[in-house]
Amino acid sequence: MPEPALVLRGIRKAYPGVVAVDDAHLELYPGEIHALVGENGAGKSTLSAIAYGETRADAGTVRASGTVGLVHQHFELVGRLRVWENVLLGREPRRGWRIDEAAARSRVLAVAERNGLAIDPNAFVETLPIGVQQRVELLRELDREPAVLLLDEPTAALAPAEIASFFATVQGLAARGAAIMIVTHKLQEVIAYATRVSVMRHGRIVAQMETAATSVDEIARAMVGGELPSVAARAATQPTPCLSVRALRAGSGETSVEDIALDVRAGEIVGIAGVEGNGQTTLADAIAGMIPYDGTISFANEGAQIGVIPQDRHREALVMPWSIVENVMLGRQHRPELRRGATLDRAHARADAQRIQERFDVRAATLDVPVRTLSGGNQQKIVVGRALIDDPNVVLAYNPTRGIDVGAAALVQSRLMQARNDGAAVLLISFELDEILALADRIAVMYRGRIVGEFERTNVDRGAIGRLMAGLS
């Protein structure tokens, strides 16, 4: 075997109330794609940040034979700068005092081409869809020719086609001798693209396997330390009209929607399939009443309760410096059971938070820690738990399992199914076709702001959906 490119020995990192990483050992070799998997809060991001040198370990050593690059779980891009500015920030080509813009653009194009990525170096990052932003993140690291590249959940927001091309790039990089570690919750990806996989649990690396010799189930069992919860069964329901959208037109520009007609009935899950950036956000915002629209959005019963799982949990769903208990009250502050006159009933809110913690297995030191300190997946569980806790008539779920581990994802899916079985109308917007296929009673495909096809669960055609999503009819 060649010399390892990165060696982690006895790494430990404690935060108040939790040991995030505990005596972890890991070696990465040039040319390998190494998957790091584990439950939410297992310590994957923390370990990556330590390997990168961004977080200081309490104990242990990190040794790297060359530059280390890290693509964060949350993008670290500057939205109001152009692509080339983001990619070359800190390494700008110069001509005298000024930046040589022409050279910068061609350099970005060259790196992109070498790695098989298509990009417009002049575009402003904030105008790009998430998948393309991910490419920018990757380009920034690729430009530095890292010997070791750490990728923290790079595919969480990507559409299936984007994932394939993403891994093509990564494989090319590995073939050129880079050592790559990729954190992910999508175990199929692990099997399909990684060479080895390490499993983290409670801060420790508990298993290491060659992917050729393992399976999704075995990895999942190692992660959870037991069997996976199975998704709740689909019960027979008598769907009745609930949410009805007619001639909806909203938003502007690329993500506007037009001429949308959609019914979601009580007791069914309607899935919206589509590649990100085709108007799903606009549709969800219109239904949630967050943006103005033309047309009608009506609910069968007056004062219908809507539980919303927004797209961006950091910005739209949570108050990051607040405690779990306070976040559980957010949006529910006027509910009769939570209020006593002009004041809030904190004891009740705490009980709710406890219930969510139990139902969704939220891993947190206490219910009073700021949600900022929770791992991404645990934050998402709180968002989902809060949306479902009041038994809403309508559930608006936007990528509800993004960034959460397989066990928790199964749990979330179960809860959505249960809500449906109990008579809620569930609108599920997801970029994961598998998720939609597993949960939805009916599927609508969105492309360029319109609904271009509808399928009943009984006669889905995966291929047809895929073609519609890609704009082919």
């Binding site: 919303v308 927004p310 910005r315 949570l318 108050v319 502050q333 209020r339 809030l344």
Partner: protein
């Protein structure tokens, strides 16, 4: 090393650092630190009338500091407390000098007028923010200047007291004077009102739905909007309330101490109060403590100037240092904790 860090980190460390810095400032000025400090503390706390002056300053700072905290909690940088205080005082003074209502009702009327005046001034900025998304830092700042000039124009013109030699209204009727709290001093019961406001604010922030929505709007505006909170309403309401609290502060200066409106009734309480609010961590009860600390400096500073020849401006330097040191102490403490595990 670790031990030293730990000591430095505690509030004790902050105090030690401050004393050292202040002593240095005094030595530069040619005053012995011993004289300086004894003058400061004697001047602030050395007797009934000294304590009275300290508490007068405390009360004057507390109102605007609480008002500022309310707005800041809602994510709105209200740096217009000075103008709001002035307009509140103007309302109280102008009406008090013209209209005669006897008894506690009269005093209550003036305080309410103060709240209305300050509230109105705050609401202008709030409305501009809600309606036009106008930056509230700038709006409140500009309104300070407008308040100063407009009130000056009014009290040197139509509202000027018949006997006044300066730009001020007539004396208020004795019936309007706030009762004295500490006999023999200028300390009025206004300070009790300030403390009551602090308690109400504490309750508002920590218990009520409005406080919850206010904090949400301040800490995560988009999440708050999606939680069904009307951000526009919170914006103008919190700026109006914030201004109202400062306005009541202005009215208490008028009814409690000056007994008339004068354009120069505040030496910048509204600005110092920003520091008070922030040193008090935007927590009403801590703000009370911070206001007392600054009250000691304001009152003690005067005496220091009188008996130890330390110019009054030295107190500003000291106040500035205190703000920086106290604000930094939390960081130092946090550092000590993480590195000392």
């Amino acid at each position: 090393m670790t031990n030293m860090r730990r000591t430095l980190a505690g509030p004790l460390g902050a105090v030690v650092l401050l004393v050292v810095l202040m002593s240095l400032a005094m030595i530069v000025a040619g005053t012995s630190p011993l004289d300086g400090f004894s003058a400061l503390f004697y001047g602030a706390l050395g007797g009934r009338s000294q304590i009275g002056e300290t508490l007068v300053a405390t009360s004057a700072l507390l109102f605007p500091a609480l008002g500022i905290a309310l707005a800041f909690r809602g994510g709105l940088f209200n740096i217009g407390a000075e103008g709001q205080l002035l307009i509140g005082a103007l309302f109280a003074g102008a009406v008090g000098a013209q209209l005669h209502v006897a008894g506690p009702l009269g005093i209550a009327l003036l305080l309410v007028l103060g709240a209305i005046g300050g509230g109105l001034w705050g609401a202008i900025a709030g409305w501009m923010k809600a309606r036009f998304n106008a930056n509230e830092i700038i709006a409140t700042l500009m309104l300070n200047f407008v308040a100063a000039y407009v009130s000056l124009a009014l009290v040197s013109g139509p509202l000027k007291g018949p006997l006044a030699t300066g730009a001020e209204t007539a004396w208020l009727d004795q019936a309007y004077w706030l009762p004295t709290l500490l006999p023999g001093t200028r300390l009025s019961i206004g300070i009790l009102l300030a403390l009551a406001v602090a308690v109400v604010l504490w309750w508002l922030f920590s218990r009520t739905i409005f406080g919850f929505e206010l904090r949400a709007a301040g800490d995560a505006p988009e999440a708050a909007r999606r939680a069904g909170i009307d951000i526009g309403r919170i914006t103008w309401l919190s700026l109006a309330l914030s201004g109202a609290i400062s306005g009541v502060g202005g009215a208490t200066i008028v009814t409690g101490e000056l007994h008339r409106f004068n354009t120069q009734l505040s030496p910048g309480y509204g600005f110092t109060a920003i520091a008070v609010a922030l040193v008090g961590d935007l927590q009403p009860l801590w703000i009370c403590l911070a206001a007392f600390g600054f009250g000691i400096l304001e009152a003690g500073g005067l005496a220091m100037q009188a008996s130890a020849q330390v110019p009054k401006d030295a107190i500003h330097v000291i106040e500035g240092l205190i703000i920086l040191v106290l604000a930094a102490r939390r960081y130092v403490a946090a550092r000590a904790e993480t590195t000392a595990v």
